[in-house]
Symmetry: C2
Subunit: 332 residues, 2 copies
């Protein structure tokens, strides 16, 4: 059982003057980091945060990436070259590196690459507080609790983690029929848009790039609900297909606004509304940060239903892990 | 003539302890702010920066958005409701607000909404140092010069501004034939991808959402070159169309990698390479930050050529400014 109190004590034991947090990963793993970055941006008075594709972070090598920082490096396989590079640079810069992986015997399991290595289990039976996003939220929640006097959401976050698993089970049951109908109707759809916002920006994006592009080879695009009205909406016609993720919490108004517009102008609209799944069991103060858990699972649900109707297995790849797309690293 | 020295003196005269910069805008204007946010993330030891769609920034209302911050609010029309909201919240939070607009007689021209109002000219004859992105870069460059001893790129940035106009003229001439051929060949293309990275992430994104979705009603999607290998590349087949923006500078390796892969696996690939336009006239230390100026203009060039071949005027809208999509603001 991962113990965030112990880890935070270890970090603060080494350096009480932490000012920055860096988040480095790629693709689906990057999407698991973004909501925690968003949490820091929204809640911390003292910490500043930067979240980028791992190799971009390495190439930028911000002057603030130093001994007063914590770095989260997440790689499911533990072998992602960009993540390994980021861990190397973070260590060289003196950052406290928390490496997170599903595979204990992978390349990231090298003590020169991290200060703390967290190995998580993966599968439908694992609680959402023990998946990477849950672990990262718990670490930052604990860190803010121990270092910022004004931070008042500690218990609300812990309580949220006691609720989220049953909410997600609920969500899967409630949304399953819609997902199956959507898959039947749009199994041959050449292209569609996925809209979302706020903390689950990255899950709407991941719905597009991981669930549909990677695992179904379907063309699609992610659009931020708030940005929809500043360009993208001009493509709206009655033959265009949109999946609208609607958050619970503060940013809900952004998602409702794009939903209403698409409805009014007769777009083909699939709505996934977090408020229908019992999110009111989570305190208003922190409900925003639990949307990403819900929308990750919704991406999986729609992907699986599409897989059934399209006869395209979700683990079938043409390039990933099959052809060479390595690159020459400049990091020593 | 806008004087950034005077503005920076005014900011520092009021508060020498600036720690944070906030960037608030929507759509095309947001894309003009992002590269300057990226510049701060890459170069500043002291400043931290947050750049979001204006209304999302308002809803988050970060605890660091306070009297020790500067806020850039950009609205071309000066009437964008989300930008006006952001200016209100920024002022209420005690931030030093720099409002930037093309229209002196717009809603943002209200002294309760800003500390400094900058009105810029717009058109092909205006130097890139005097468009919003140029103005913002000059302000931040001056600010870093006056406040951070280690900041050593001040003169290189100023020199870059002396070069960028002729580089862009060059770029337009060099790329025009390719853009015309692309427009002829792909005038009926139902969907395409645009890839880019680094400082011009927002210009590749803007190429998609402004130049093509808004002004040509064409379906397309932006993908970060670094993220391409972590999901998106599985859609690659020989009938898929990609426009690859290739930066000069540090992040070039990201763009070259996706270009090479698309080429190898026979995607239909249009390359726009900043290095072909004379970017070597700009110092290596700062060349990254001038890519966005180039790729903004490339989006315009391809849009205009597509407009000619598709018979779709670039100022024709079905929704923007024509139908009601207002929202009820909670900001007083």
């Amino acid at each position: 059982m991962f113990d965030e109190k112990k880890l935070v004590s270890e970090i603060l034991g080494r350096n009480k003057n932490i000012t920055d947090v860096f988040f480095a990963a790629c693709g689906g793993s990057l999407n698991d980091l973004f909501p925690v970055h968003y949490f820091i941006e929204s809640e911390s008075k003292k910490l500043h945060s930067m979240c980028k594709p791992a190799r971009e972070l390495v190439l930028i090598d911000s002057p603030r990436w130093n001994e007063n920082s914590i770095t989260f490096v997440l790689s499911h396989s533990g072998n992602t070259p960009e993540a390994i590079e980021a861990a190397k640079v973070a260590k060289k810069n003196g950052s406290f590196v928390i490496a997170i992986t599903n595979d204990k015997n992978s390349k990231i399991d090298d003590s020169s690459l991290y200060d703390d290595l967290i190995v998580y289990d993966w599968g439908t039976s694992v609680s959402h507080k023990d998946v990477p996003m849950g672990i990262e939220f718990r670490i930052v929640n604990e860190f803010l609790h121990q270092t910022e006097e004004d931070y008042a959401k500690y218990d609300d976050m812990l309580d949220g983690f006691d609720q989220i698993d049953s909410i997600i089970e609920n969500a899967k049951n409630i949304q399953k029929d819609s997902a199956a109908k959507f898959a039947q109707k749009y199994r041959k759809q050449p292209f569609l848009y996925i809209l979302g916002s706020g903390a689950s920006t990255s899950q709407a994006y991941g719905f597009a790039i991981c669930s549909l592009m990677e695992m179904q080879w379907m063309d699609c695009a992610y659009i931020n609900s708030a940005e929809f009205f500043h360009g993208p909406f001009e493509v709206l016609q009655d033959d265009k297909v949109f999946i609208q993720c609607i958050n619970a919490g503060k940013t809900r108004v952004l998602d409702e606004r794009s939903r209403d517009f698409i409805e009014k102008y007769h777009g083909q609209l699939e709505v996934i509304d977090a408020n229908k799944f019992g999110m009111d069991k989570i305190k208003d103060t922190v409900v925003d940060y639990f949307n990403p858990f819900v929308f990750y699972e919704m991406g999986v649900l729609y992907r699986d239903e599409l897989s059934e109707k399209r006869g395209h297995q979700t683990d079938f790849r043409q390039y990933m892990g099959k052809v060479d797309y390595s690159y020459k690293s400049d990091v020593e």
